[in-house]
């Protein structure tokens, strides 16, 4: 009975109802979009890192610590037998890491020089661009950000200075053979990439490497000597920590948006009760109990949210779908890693089942609470006051 009356009241109020529903739907849309954008940003950062850097995982030289460049000097050795086998089968590729300095346009810049197998196809890096430059002393691959910072272009020459295995400084001329566009700033900023064999020769570290990255789906090899297997979970742990550190921000954003939606519904309810004081009195005079009147107004609030959910699907669903497929242009370029996390230029929201279910449950509970809170005042209202339209909410 209450349901029928509530539906009649809602649909009968026409413009007033649809305005309330629209505002609530807009809040729902914003909650889902913003949360999905956060999820999309995280998911994208992980995916790009795995795709361009991690592959299926890596084996590290025991001395290697990517966060401490001072370890690079000792973090190299002959690749263990089973790992070499994987490399020979093109299921893995070695990387030799060292510190270096470059002198582009007369400036000095400390960099991390990485020797990589140009033919690898395990991670998404245009290393093939390092192939076929026999005439060049040291062919160098750099990222767009690095090129900008060092003011380098394809074909530009600059001096590279490094410390070899014999602890002797040496220098030679490097030439930029390709500038790559990568979303992973960790491959770009402060990095120069050279062919592995060239790096081994420059550093006097024949057949040596610092780490070996392997393809997805491989299990840990037995004969890895003292090299340490690092799986994807380990390799993205810093990013997970960053994301975890960002959780409170996401939660605050979520709560703010939820508050907007809740305030909209609360306001609509308060206004509704204030405007409909005489109607409340009439319903009481006709024999509706206070509990039922409270139930009716709470139900109307709940139905308001339900209609808003339907409107969100109908009105904003195509927009959410479009953003999900084409992304949202952020208008800011974070490819220099200023955010500390990989952020794409077009942010693609990810609408997970968890997000939709959690949002629906939380919003439903909030809607019921904010619909009930103003409505329960009706229970304290004197019918005679309500009939005179004397309502204090």
């Amino acid at each position: 009975m209450l349901f029928k009356i509530a539906i009649k009241n809602l649909l009968g109020a026409k413009l007033r109802t649809w305005l309330n529903v629209f505002v609530t739907a807009l809040s729902f849309f914003m909650i889902i979009l913003f949360s999905a954008m956060y999820d999309g940003m995280r998911e994208h950062a992980k995916q790009v890192t795995i795709d361009t850097e991690i592959g299926g995982g890596a084996y590290w030289h025991p001395e290697y610590d990517p966060m401490d460049p001072m370890t690079f000097e000792d973090a190299h050795s002959i690749i263990p037998r089973d790992l070499k086998l994987l490399v020979d089968q093109n299921k893995a590729f070695p990387v030799l890491v060292s510190q270096a300095s470059i002198y582009p346009n007369g400036r000095i810049m400390p960099v991390i020089m990485k020797g990589i197998t140009p033919e690898q196809n395990i991670v998404n890096m245009p290393t093939q661009m390092l192939v076929g430059h026999e005439e060049v002393t040291i062919p160098v691959l750099i990222g767009r950000g690095m090129a900008k910072d060092a003011n380098l272009d394809v074909g530009d020459a600059f001096t590279i200075r490094w410390l070899d295995a014999d602890r002797t400084y040496d220098a030679d001329e490097g030439i930029v053979v390709h500038i790559m566009d990568t979303e992973n700033f960790k491959l770009d900023m402060g990095h120069i990439w050279v062919p592995l064999k060239k790096a081994q020769m420059m550093l006097a570290m024949e057949k040596e490497a610092t780490y070996v990255t392997y393809a997805e789906g491989l299990s840990v090899v037995k004969n890895k000597h003292d090299w340490i297997p690092r799986d994807v979970k380990y390799l993205i742990r810093d990013m997970e920590a960053l994301i975890e550190a960002d959780e409170p921000n996401a939660a605050i954003m979520y709560i703010i948006l939820l508050c907007f939606a809740a305030m909209g519904i609360f306001n609509a309810q308060v206004l509704s009760i204030f405007r409909r004081g005489r109607e409340i009195g009439t319903l009481m005079a006709l024999g509706m109990t206070r509990t039922r009147v409270v139930g009716l107004f709470t139900l109307e609030g709940g139905l308001n949210a339900f209609l808003a959910a339907i409107m969100t699907v109908i009105l904003f669903g195509p927009l959410l779908w479009y953003f999900g497929n084409n992304g949202i242009w952020l208008g800011v370029d974070y490819s220099d890693g200023a955010m500390g996390i990989i952020v794409e230029k077009y942010l693609i929201p990810v609408y997970s089942v968890g997000l939709v279910v959690t949002t629906t449950i939380i919003v439903s509970i909030i809607v019921l609470i904010v619909s009930y809170l103003p409505s329960r005042r009706i229970a304290r209202m004197k019918p005679t006051d309500a009939l005179r339209g004397k309502v204090t909410v």
Partner: protein
């Protein structure tokens, strides 16, 4: 007591005003029989509406006993009073109090929905009530599309659709012109005769005095005169 619809003894009603109390009704003793067509008449502030509200269980007395349809209101809960109103009473208000988003049909249907009457019977009763008040051509109209007289006829249909024992009308003709007032009163006289429904009016409208068969004069919260009028000769 057998045919008594309302029985009031030593009723006193006080309202808090500021730090003091205002006495709206005092020493009210009254008995109304089934089928009566009674008017509570008096100037503004005489306590008519307050008395009507107390009889309807919308307000409670400060002192004294009020028994409506054999139920002492002092011994009933909010919900029991709501049930009493829902099943046995109809209300007519000066400003109609129709629900603006409902059509005439839906407004009249509301008491039956509250009484959980099944849809088929509901349709029949609503159609009949709307016929009684002569609004069959306006069933789908909303209150905003109706004249004052039509709104009040809708309110009357809503008050009598569930065939209550008692109808309480607060200044039902105050917002209407003479022609509409007489039309409304004729409808209510007819309903009173055909359904034996008791009517209690709170009014100071001279136009409707000719229809009343009992006039209770109130002044300053007290009954100053209670007169029975024989209208059998005039046919009223």
């Amino acid at each position: 007591m057998e045919n008594s619809v309302v029985s009031i003894t030593n009723l006193l009603k006080r309202f808090p005003v500021g730090g003091d109390f205002f006495t709206a009704l005092k020493q009210i003793n009254l008995k109304l029989q089934k089928g009566e067509f009674t008017g509570l008449v008096g100037p503004s502030g005489s306590g008519k509406t307050t008395l009507l509200n107390i009889i309807g269980g919308l307000d409670s007395p400060s002192e004294g006993t009020v028994t409506v349809l054999k139920k002492s209101l002092a011994d009933t809960s909010h919900n029991e009073r709501a049930e009493l109103r829902r099943k046995n009473m109809g209300f007519i208000f000066q400003s109609y109090n129709l629900l603006p988003v409902y059509t005439v049909f839906e407004n009249v249907e509301l008491p039956l929905i509250l009484n959980k009457v099944d849809p088929q019977e509901r349709d029949k009763k609503v159609t009949q009530a709307i016929e009684w008040v002569g609004l069959s051509d306006k069933t789908k109209s909303r209150p905003a599309m109706l004249s004052g007289g039509e709104c009040q006829r809708t309110a009357i249909a809503r008050a009598i659709v569930h065939e209550p024992t008692l109808v309480l009308a607060d200044e039902p003709t105050a917002n209407l012109d003479a022609e509409n007032s007489h039309h409304i009163m004729n409808i209510m006289v007819k309903l009173n005769k055909e359904l034996s429904t008791s009517f209690i009016f709170a009014t100071h409208d001279e136009k409707i005095m000719d229809y009343l068969r009992r006039i209770i004069h109130l002044d300053d919260g007290q009954i100053i005169n209670d007169e029975l009028i024989d209208r059998s000769k005039s046919g009223g």
